[in-house]
Symmetry: C2
Subunit: 94 residues, 2 copies
């Protein structure tokens, strides 16, 4: 979890898919060989879209290096405990 906010990480949330695709492309063009895409809950589908679009439409040499599922316990404002699924997709140019 130390890498959660590292420089080459894109956290996928509620913005349009292409914003995150652009963020990944920017990181690759800055010279990172690996880009990590993270998402929780309903954004997981969007994270998978982002990984596919980067590979299929922009940088065909990019591959999925690793894929990880997980879950996080969150406490809502009302004090309820919610389990949220997470995904971590590492793309690599090498």
């Amino acid at each position: 979890m130390n890498s959660f906010m590292s420089e080459n990480t894109v956290i996928v949330g509620q913005k349009p898919t292409m914003n995150y695709v652009l963020a990944c492309l920017t990181l690759f063009h800055q010279g990172f060989n690996d880009v990590v895409i993270k998402a929780r809950g309903k954004a997981i589908s969007k994270a998978v879209d982002v990984a596919n679009i980067v590979q299929k439409k922009f940088i065909p040499t990019v591959k999925v290096k690793s894929l990880e599922l997980g879950s996080e316990r969150l406490v809502t404002e009302k004090g309820n405990v919610v389990n949220l699924s997470t995904i971590t997709i590492t793309l690599t140019k090498r």
Copy 2:
């Protein structure tokens, strides 16, 4: 893709998450060592939830054996071509 409709596959769609969790548990109890969870598009997040719930709440010995991302081209009724992301999660009891 030949395994898409094989006996030990659960296709996650628009029904409530627990329906699919129950389907996985049923397959494990029928004696399958592996259960394959598949989903497309927005159901991907739900498929990850299903995998997590089966592992964390019901059968702690179950592990993720393999994880695969992909995409499919679909033609809509209006003739538009849509790319849909897919996920395949294989859970194993071994």
